[in-house]
Symmetry: D3
Subunit: 67 residues, 6 copies
C-alpha cells in the first residue's frame, strides 16, 4: 500500500527507464518492509529545468554554467 512520488528533471527519460524505476522501487519496498507489490503506487513527475532550483538557481542556469 505504499505511495511513492519521484520527481526528476524533464530530460526525455524513456518509457522503458520509467518502467525500470517503477519496478525497482516496488521491489525495494517489498524487500525492505515486506510491502505488498500489488497495492504499491508509484508516480513519476517530470519537471522542467526552469522550474527546478537548487542553490538558489535554476537547473537551466546551472547547466549553462557547466555545474
Amino acid at each position: 500500500m505504499p505511495f511513492v512520488n519521484i520527481k526528476i528533471t524533464n530530460d526525455g527519460v524513456t518509457s522503458e527507464k520509467k518502467a525500470e524505476l517503477i519496478a525497482g522501487v516496488t521491489k525495494l519496498l517489498q524487500q525492505v518492509l515486506g510491502k505488498n507489490p500489488a497495492t504499491t503506487v508509484v508516480i513519476i513527475d517530470e519537471v522542467s529545468t526552469d522550474n527546478w532550483g537548487i542553490g538558489g538557481e535554476q537547473v537551466t542556469a546551472r547547466r549553462k554554467r557547466g555545474v
Copy 2:
C-alpha cells in the same frame, strides 16, 4: 481552509468533470467537517499512464494486457 490534491491518470477528463470533482470535494469537506468552502483549495494533477505505476508495472502496460 482545507487543501486537496487529486491525482488521476491523464485520460482526457473534460473541464465539466473537473468542475464536478472540485464542487463535490469542497461540499464534502463542508458537510463532514464544517469547513468553509470559500477557502477550500482543490488541485487536480493529470498524470501520464507511463508515469503511473501499480503492482510494479506502468498503467500503460497493464491496460495493454487488459488488466
Copy 3:
C-alpha cells in the same frame, strides 16, 4: 487508481469523521469519473495551526484575532 491527499488543520478530527471523508471522496471519484473504488487511495494530513499560513499569517494567530 486515483490518489487523493487531504490536508486539514489538526483540530481533533475523530476517526469516524476521517472514515466519512475517505468513503465520500472515494464515492465521488466513482460517480464523477467511473474510478474503481478498490484502488482509490486517500491520505489525510493533519497540520498544526502554527504550520499553516494564509494571508501571510499563521492560522493560530488568525484564530486568536477571531478571524
Copy 4:
C-alpha cells in the same frame, strides 16, 4: 536541505520570474532558519486554471465571472 514546492496557476510566468522566486525563497530560508542555500531545493508547479479550484469552483470560471 529544505525542500520547497510552489504551486501557481499556469499564466505564462517567465523564466526570469521563476528564477527570482527560486532565489528569493532560498534566501529567505537562509535568513530565517540559517539553512544552507547550496542544498535548498525549490520546485515550481504550474497548474491549469481548469485544474485549480477555490470556493468549490474552477479558477477558469471565477475569472470569467470577474472574481
Copy 5:
C-alpha cells in the same frame, strides 16, 4: 537531484529499515537514470492507519476485518 517522497503506514518501522530504503532508492536512481546520489533527496512520511484509506475504507478498519 531527484526528490523522492515515500508514504507508508505508521507501523513502527525502525531507523535501520528507513536507512535501507533511503540507500536503496538513491542507488536505484543512480543505476537507472545516472542520477548523482550526492544530491538525491528522500523523505519518508509515516501515516496513521486512521488517516490512510483504500477501497473507501480506513486501513485501521480493513486490518480489523483481516483484509
Copy 6:
C-alpha cells in the same frame, strides 16, 4: 492563490520563526508575481532526521559524522 509547501528537518523551529517564513514567502509571491496575499496558503512540514535522506544516507547519520 498560490500554495506553498516547505519541508524542513524537525529541529525545534519556534512558532515565531514559522510565522516569519509564512510572512516572507507570501510577500515574495506578491512582489515577484503580484499574487494576492489574502489567498496564499503556506504549509510547513517538519520531518524527523531519521526520515530525511540525502546522499543515500539519513540526516541523523550525517550529523553524527559531522557532515
